[in-house]
Amino acid sequence: MDRKKFILFRVGVIVFIITSVTVAVTRNSALLSIVSLLTGLFFWIFVQSKAKNRIDERVTTVQEKAAQMTYLIFTPTIGIGSIVLLLFARDEYYYLESLGMVLAYLTLFLIVLYAISYHFLDRKYGGSGD
């Protein structure tokens, strides 16, 4: 990720957090607004403040590994969560079953996205050359 893309990513995160807080306030969801603000603070402390430095290959490596680690934690977590919700949601907790369905589709989307990314990157870096 070069400097321009990294700046776009940071702007995207900031816009999302602002939007999230705005939606939370309009929906009277104090929890979402607090979590959004804490997430923004967390991002500022661990990423934004360090991003003033030159974006060189080490920072690019850190970004790539952070994205990989995020995917490796996030996808199994929501996958397992979706299975648990779908298996154990009772009739009176129908919303949990709906949430489980959403998480299941999201997990499947992430798996497909990974497969497509892997295919294109493999070809980009000289795979399937035989």
């Binding site: 430095n53 030159r54 060189d56 290959e57 080490r58 920072v59 490596t61």
Partner: protein, 74 residues
């Protein structure tokens, strides 16, 4: 490449040329943090950056970076 490590003498060459980490970072186009990370063996530079460093000090790449295999055998 299990048991192998790539070591470097970047700190030695930087001292020989009386350079600060900031100055060297500026010359080779990276951040000071990257120079620190390379010197402390926490970050392995790319081949391109390794060649850039060697070219800056006017030495061969093997003079700065060395490949050491783990000689411990079972």
């Amino acid at each position: 490449m299990e048991g192998a490590a790539i070591k470097n003498k970047l700190k030695v060459y930087r001292a020989m040329h009386d350079l600060t980490q900031e100055h060297l970072a500026e010359k080779i186009g990276v951040s000071r943090q990257t120079v620190i990370a390379i010197e402390s063996d926490k970050y392995l530079p790319s081949l391109g950056l390794a060649f850039k460093i060697a070219r800056y000090f006017k030495v061969n790449i093997e003079d700065i970076f060395s490949y050491e295999e783990d000689t411990d055998e079972d």
